[in-house]
């Protein structure tokens, strides 16, 4: 038995440290620790609630947009503001494209190198690669000449000895299974995806001024005007540009992401048995119909809300936000009422209390407090959130678009739904979701276009814009499905100012340390049973951890 | 504006009933022309600067579809009157060293024992403890000190104003000589202070006009008219 440490966990957002107990060639226990905290909840206190979205968006530049949306929803919920339909649709378009963008970047640039051995691609036969590529997809850049050029470029790059981001990778590790042709194909798409993502995200610039950190959210709507007869507002040209970018996104997901995902999954079947983890899943749901605030209205969500317990897909349990509470027993905070209680976010406290070793250190005291992440629990149960949770809840709820996509993917791989409760399942759910949402985003654009065509140009509900129209006190929460899962912002407004602001983030759920009852968080649970071929090269830990797409800036904030 | 014709210097022109013991009085030309011209120039420019400045910070007139140049004019007028204002202030500073004894710099500072005494007595008068206003020919010591504070505010306005002006011309002489201001205070804070001081200046004006009126009605020296004519009635027993 030995304890190994992986710190920094790379190819994620932020500062994550994993300590794992390894017995023989398997992980028997694990501790997840986020080692960075900024105190954004404290910084928000006393400020103008209408500014909160701008601050909270900076929680994360990877899942940019999501905290902005959760925040405006929280304030709107507190004050009883309903934004106009156009604003809702624009927000949803931003969200849907954020999902597709984030998932593509995750798959190719954060996760792929866990499955793809770049150096092995040097042994690939360009012709064989072209055959492989053409057999799985009609993606255009699939000719022998293309792969020969890519291979030559890689060879040239490697020969220079300056590997840049590929320096010191686990190349040649026995757990890599893709053939050289698969690796070359993936490397080629790694580069294409870099190009794709920066172009696709122009959607955000069109609707939000820039990316990352869009600048058109408003409490009560959005700040980008709509006027088909103005050159300074969303007009037909904007809509046409959006359409072509969204179509481009759908094409890329269909022709590259999904085929590549299935290719990887088919070479790693054993990873459908590894990394299952908690088996409890929570989804807030997203993409409300019409102008509803999902914090208020769980019906009509395109991706439904619900809870799956113990991997049981036969029942979807309802979500009651009041049952969310956070522990700090093993987190570097203290509660006035003692560190063994769980606090609901409306009464939440964020008081730092570092008890860990003074840096530099080798090991954390994992019996005590060991992370800047709090431990959120639903009805005292640890939950996994994220694409897998969303796809499972939607699948179990019978959401047609999801059921069809999931069944098709499972069919392609020749496995049943139980394969979803795994490392590969999580990764696959993300791809399936991208497909569903890339399609849905075009529906959203259609709705927006139709609404504008019907003469509705409203983008903001300004009735309660001025703080002197607000009640003396108000509380509200904003629910949102971020790419990494269920996100909620909780606000208390007193005298036109933020009195208390608490944020419970997807990666807080997934990356949480243990709670007062010793329940592990989702990363910790999923690592148990993960094989380790070489303790010096913890590639397998990366696979399972990356399948969650961790974001530590989000998790601890 | 002038309740009594002080230019005549005739005691008999004072309204009856208030002063029962008739005193010897002399007419003293306290405020030389430059002082008066400067005073009313400052008065006028402060009004213009305040109106245009207020607009710059909070454009209360919003033009319609017809393109106008409202903000452009406001800023141009602000800058132009700032130049006049700064010249007036500069002139007054020069005059503080070249003008008559009531215009001199020491009138604004409680430097002498006498002025401190006068300041104390005037304060007692204001606090309703002392009934009679201590009489002076120039400013009373308290007023002199208030003017000093006002001048400090003016100077801060000028420095901030020049620095804000300089923002438009990066690398210019104006920029180079004023940009240090923003090492002391960020740009929005500088604007905030510039605006806040505007309000303080108007707070001063209220106090100033009130006390001029008060002193006038107490002293019957024609203090208010003095800032127009330059002349004050001063009892000869105190010179």
């Amino acid at each position: 038995m030995s304890k190994i440490v992986v710190d920094p966990i790379t190819r994620i957002e932020g500062h994550l440290r994993i300590e794992a107990q390894v017995d023989g060639d398997q992980i028997t226990d694990a501790w997840s620790s986020c080692t960075m905290w900024r105190g954004i909840e404290k910084i928000l206190s006393g400020r103008d609630p209408r500014d909160a979205w701008y601050f909270t968006q900076r929680i994360c530049g990877v899942c940019t947009t999501v905290h902005a949306l959760a925040s405006v929803r929280a304030v709107e919920n507190a004050l009883g503001i309903t934004p106009p339909l156009n604003a809702q649709l624009i927000r949803q378009l931003i969200t849907a494209s954020q999902f597709v963008h984030d998932h593509v970047v995750h798959f190719y640039h954060l996760h792929a190198l866990d499955w793809v051995d770049i150096i092995s691609a040097l042994d690939a036969d360009p012709e064989g690669t072209a055959e492989l590529a053409q057999s799985i997809s009609d993606y255009p850049k699939s000719g022998t000449g293309h792969f020969r050029a890519v291979k030559a470029r890689l060879a040239d790059f490697v020969a220079k000895g300056q590997l840049g981001p590929f320096s010191n990778g686990y190349w040649g590790h026995p757990a890599y299974k893709l053939p050289p042709e698969g690796n070359l194909l993936a490397f080629s798409h790694y580069l294409d995806a870099l190009e794709f993502q920066r172009q696709y995200i122009e959607i955000h610039a069109l609707l939000g001024g820039k990316n990352p950190h869009l600048q058109t959210y408003l409490v009560g709507g959005v700040a980008i005007p709509i006027d088909p007869n103005s050159q300074n507002a969303i007009n037909a040209a904007t809509l046409a540009k959006l359409r072509s970018l969204l179509e481009e996104g759908l094409r890329f997901v269909q022709q590259a992401y999904i085929p590549d995902l299935l290719l990887v999954a088919s070479f790693y079947p054993e990873w459908t048995q590894i990394g299952g983890g908690l088996g409890n899943f929570l989804a807030f749901g997203e993409f409300p119909a019409g102008a509803a605030n999902p914090s208020e209205d769980p019906d009509g969500l395109f991706l439904p809300r619900g809870i799956i317990l113990n991997k049981d897909l036969s029942t979807v349990h309802p979500v009651d936000p009041k049952k969310i509470a956070e522990y700090v027993t093993h987190s570097w905070y203290s509660y006035e009422a003692g560190d063994d209680v769980a606090l609901q976010p409306f009464d939440g406290e964020t008081t730092p209390n570092y008890t860990g070793p003074k840096p530099p250190y080798d090991f954390l005291d994992t019996d005590g407090k060991y992370s800047w992440i709090k431990a959120p629990r639903y009805d005292d149960v640890a939950m996994e959130v994220g694409p897998l949770a969303r796809m499972l809840v939607a699948y179990a709820s019978g959401r047609k678009e999801v059921v069809d996509a999931v069944n098709w993917a499972l069919g392609e791989l020749g496995v049943g739904p139980e394969a979803l409760f795994s490392t590969i399942g999580r990764t696959a759910a993300r791809g399936i979701e991208s497909l569903v949402l890339a399609e849905h985003s075009l529906t959203l654009l259609d709705q927006l276009t139709a609404n504008i065509a019907a003469g509705d140009l409203q983008i903001h509900n300004g009735e309660l814009w001025e703080p002197d129209t607000w009640p003396k006190e108000a509380i509200g929460f904003g629910m949102h499905e971020a790419p990494r899962g269920a996100l909620s912002h909780w606000i208390k407004i007193v005298d036109q100012k933020i009195d208390r602001y608490e944020i419970v983030v997807p990666s807080t759920w997934n990356g949480s340390p243990r709670d007062a009852n010793g329940q592990r968080g989702a990363y910790e649970a999923a690592l148990i049973g993960t094989p380790i071929a070489d303790q010096q090269q913890p590639l397998e830990i990366l696979r399972t951890i990356h399948s969650f797409d961790p974001c530590m800036a989000c998790a601890a904030h | 504006m002038t309740p009594n014709d002080t230019s005549k210097g005739a005691v008999g022109t004072l309204p009856p009933g208030r002063i029962e013991s008739v005193r010897e009085e002399a007419v003293v030309r306290v405020w030389e022309l430059p002082v008066r011209v400067i005073h009313w120039t400052v008065f006028a420019t402060v009004i213009v600067l305040s109106i245009t400045g207020f607009y710059i910070g909070r454009p209360f007139l919003v033009a319609g579809a017809e393109p106008g140049f409202t903000m452009g004019w406001m800023r141009a007028i602000h800058n132009l009157s700032a130049l006049v204002f700064m010249s007036a202030i500069l002139g007054r500073i020069i005059w503080a060293f070249t003008g008559n004894r009531w215009a001199r710099w020491d009138q604004f500072l409680p430097v002498s024992k006498e002025r401190r005494e006068n300041g104390r007595a005037t304060l007692l008068f204001y606090l309703l403890i002392r009934r009679e206003i201590p009489r002076v020919v120039g400013h009373n010591a308290l007023a002199g000190f208030a003017y000093l504070l006002l001048f400090v505010m003016f100077l801060v306005q000028i420095v901030l104003g020049l620095a804000l002006w300089g923002l438009q011309y990066p690398g210019s002489l104006l920029w180079d000589s004023t940009n240090w201001v923003f090492s002391l205070t960020p740009i929005p804070m500088a604007r905030l202070i510039h605006r806040l001081i505007m309000w303080f200046i108007w707070g001063f004006v209220i106090h100033h006009v009130y006390s001029a009126w008060l002193a006038d009605s107490e002293e019957r020296s024609g203090i208010i008219s003095s800032i127009f004519s330059g002349r004050k009635h001063v009892p000869t027993d105190r010179g």
Partner: protein, 388 residues
């Protein structure tokens, strides 16, 4: 000590042309960079020459109290594309968001990259100094330890984003972690400041190309920000400026003025207080920028903007010590009102005092006799009646 820039033997232009980037698009890239750097067009060939001769600089990218927004911005590089940058323009030997290695292998890659010296250190995120730096620890070492080790021998530091440049969001009041900027803790290595929340990747490419072309960091303002990107105000280059001058303002979100692209000053735009090239360079390949999308500038490239440029929807911040929703002019009017009421009350009190007082003759005598304090002297009075 400061080392010379370390570069690999592979030249940028060579890398670009070798992999099929035509000479023509390479020259286009040079022309684009010339524009970002605000240099005359005639400089493009000089830049091209410099890039053809120079080789890839070694870059290590450190992340502390950040949100990865600047990394994401970096990934949006479009000319040249980020793929070309990662393979051909820069040798990014350490960047924990994209690197293959993790844990000890990652730390080893960092060590290897900085050993020869001359590397460029890019820093994203602020450095928490509070409580021994426990608020940001990487591989068991605090941010400040990592930063100090990594900048030894560096040729320069580029601070990407407002957090590393000025402290940024973590340093916003009440700065719970004692966050500071790089310049607050590192000396002896030149710092190129690229604030922005996030920084605009075009400005980073511009700065790097400038360094490669001219062999020195670009000229900067007193805050270390290159003049080519932060030399002038948003407000002085904003496409809505004519509406500002005309007095045409949006006054409600979505009103006619807003739709027509009128000035956003009354909606809280901080363009007049902000130095950044957003209006000309724009974002995401020149697609748009915040004001272009209908929202005011928030001043994200200015120091302390989280505290000094907020509340976002008011032109000026709240006076320190007052709540955020307090309007400066209400305070001003309060000052006036209080003064007026105060002196009004004083006037009334004076009048009452007068009415109650003893006859003036006695009073005058009293006053004259006991408390004459005036120092004025009639003899010296200018009584000739002539105006001077």
């Amino acid at each position: 000590m400061v080392h010379a820039l370390t570069v690999t033997d592979d030249s940028l232009a060579g890398g670009l042309t070798k992999r099929g980037v035509s000479r023509r698009s390479f020259l286009q890239f040079c022309a684009a960079v010339t524009a970002i750097l605000a240099l005359p067009e005639s400089y493009a060939p000089r830049i091209a020459r410099a890039l053809e001769e120079k080789a890839k600089p070694v870059v290590v990218w450190l992340k502390f109290q950040d949100c990865t927004g600047n990394t994401e911005s970096f990934l949006r590089a479009h000319n040249p594309g980020i793929g070309d940058i990662l393979l051909d323009v820069l040798a990014v030997e350490y960047h924990d968001t994209i690197m293959a290695a993790a844990g000890t292998q990652a730390s080893a890659a960092l060590k290897a990259a900085i050993e020869p010296g001359g590397h460029i250190v890019v820093v994203e995120g602020s450095i928490p100094l509070g409580d021994d730096g426990v608020y940001c620890v990487i591989g068991g070492r605090s941010a400040i330890q990592v930063l100090e080790e990594t900048t030894v021998g560096a040729s320069m530091i580029i601070t990407a984003g407002t957090c590393s440049t000025f402290g940024g969001l973590p340093a916003a009041a009440p700065n719970p972690t004692g966050a500071v900027s790089v310049a607050d803790v590192v000396s002896g290595v030149p710092i190129v400041s690229l604030p922005g929340c996030p920084m605009n990747v075009d400005n980073m490419i511009g700065a790097i190309v400038h360094i490669l072309t001219f062999g020195a960091p670009p000229a900067a303002d007193r805050l270390g920000r290159p003049l080519f990107a932060y030399g002038e105000r948003i407000h002085d280059h904003c496409e809505r400026r004519a509406h500002f001058d005309a007095g045409q303002f949006a006054v409600e979100w979505g009103d006619e003025g807003h739709k027509k692209g009128w000035c956003l000053y009354k909606m809280g735009c901080k363009g007049p207080s902000t130095f950044h090239n957003c209006p000309s360079t724009r974002w995401n390949g020149g697609t748009n920028w915040p004001v272009g999308a209908g929202h005011g500038c928030v001043g994200c490239s200015e120091p302390g903007f989280w505290d000094t440029m907020t509340p976002i929807y008011k032109p000026l911040p709240a006076p320190p010590g007052f709540g955020v929703t307090t309007n400066l002019d209400s305070i001003g009017l309060g000052i006036l009102g209080a003064t007026a009421v105060g002196f009004g009350a004083h006037g009334v009190a004076k009048a009452v005092q007068r009415r109650r007082s003893t006859p003036i003759s006695i009073r005058s005598a009293e006053a004259d006799g006991n408390e004459g304090t005036d120092q004025g002297s009639g003899q010296e009075a200018d009584t000739d009646g002539d105006e001077t």
